[in-house]
Chain length 168, copies 2
């Protein structure tokens, strides 16, 4: 897989350690997250599943976290910290009742897509991770991005700031 560095706008410094690689849409700075300059990675919908999850009210979502090859390899090896170049993407949908099965609930409309990119130099101030939160392909505002790292740091610092565990 070939990666193109395209997320140096917000952080100001291009790290040569990471071939952090994102879609053509990241050529437009409006598509990059505030603070971190993270974009939606190309082709993430095809990435391998790490785990599904459910988020209760008020968000009321079904979710699935997928990862790029570097992420999957690290998960399978069970090694922390994640190496530079790791990209995790959490897809989320409204959690809705199945029309065919009383006991089943399924994805409704897509809500947010959330991205974590590991670059230990570029994102040294946030545990080595850059964050991006997107709705309809566009990043949400800076205030929301200011909450990312504090929460990950408070709750899962010992797991390299990553909540999601591999679904066996």
């Amino acid at each position: 897989m070939r990666w193109i560095l395209a997320a140096s706008l917000a952080a100001g410094v291009a790290s040569s350690a990471v071939a952090a690689a994102f879609a053509a849409n990241t050529a437009n700075p409006e598509n990059l997250s505030p603070i971190y300059g993270v974009g939606l990675p190309d082709g993430y919908r095809k990435w391998e599943l790490i785990a599904p999850a459910q988020e209760a009210e008020p968000l009321n979502e079904l979710r699935a976290v997928v990862g790029n090859d570097i992420a999957i390899k690290a998960y399978r090896a069970g090694k922390l910290p994640f190496p530079d170049g790791t990209v995790l993407v959490k897809l989320a949908w409204k959690h809705t009742q199945s029309p065919e099965f009383e006991s089943a609930s399924i994805p409704g409309a897509a809500t947010t897509v959330q991205v974590m990119v590991k670059d230990s130099k570029k994102y040294a101030a946030s545990g080595g991770w850059g964050f991006g939160r997107f709705i309809n392909g566009k990043p949400v505002d800076q205030a929301q991005h200011e909450t990312c790292f504090a929460c990950h740091e408070a709750r899962v610092k010992e797991r390299d700031y990553v909540f999601t565990k591999w679904a066996p």
Copy 2:
């Protein structure tokens, strides 16, 4: 992708229409489902996500359905019926509370893996689909497999007997 026909033992007739292709473990007839002779396909854990789902009590599971390349292409094209060679796999885990996040719930232990294989000739008597339900890699008993098609037929015949829709 190369497929090896390996599931003709139980059904008795090898269909040349489908290069239905399964793991080395299907060389052992004990690993094939009753009635249908469906095995666990090789490498399915790496397949592309179609959608997550939740199943309420008493099963209380989080699930994810993935598909082989033929399945994904058909989903993306939105075309029914699914072509021969389609393989769908539903992974399931106990639905458990996240220890770090009150509002989140996550996969616990793996429960069942369920497989659907499309071969319109071989499985003509069951809508073109062969079914397999596995626990710890071994198929469950014949009585359970006798329920598969009746339920799919009763509820989602008009969607080529497939419950899961593509998560957008």
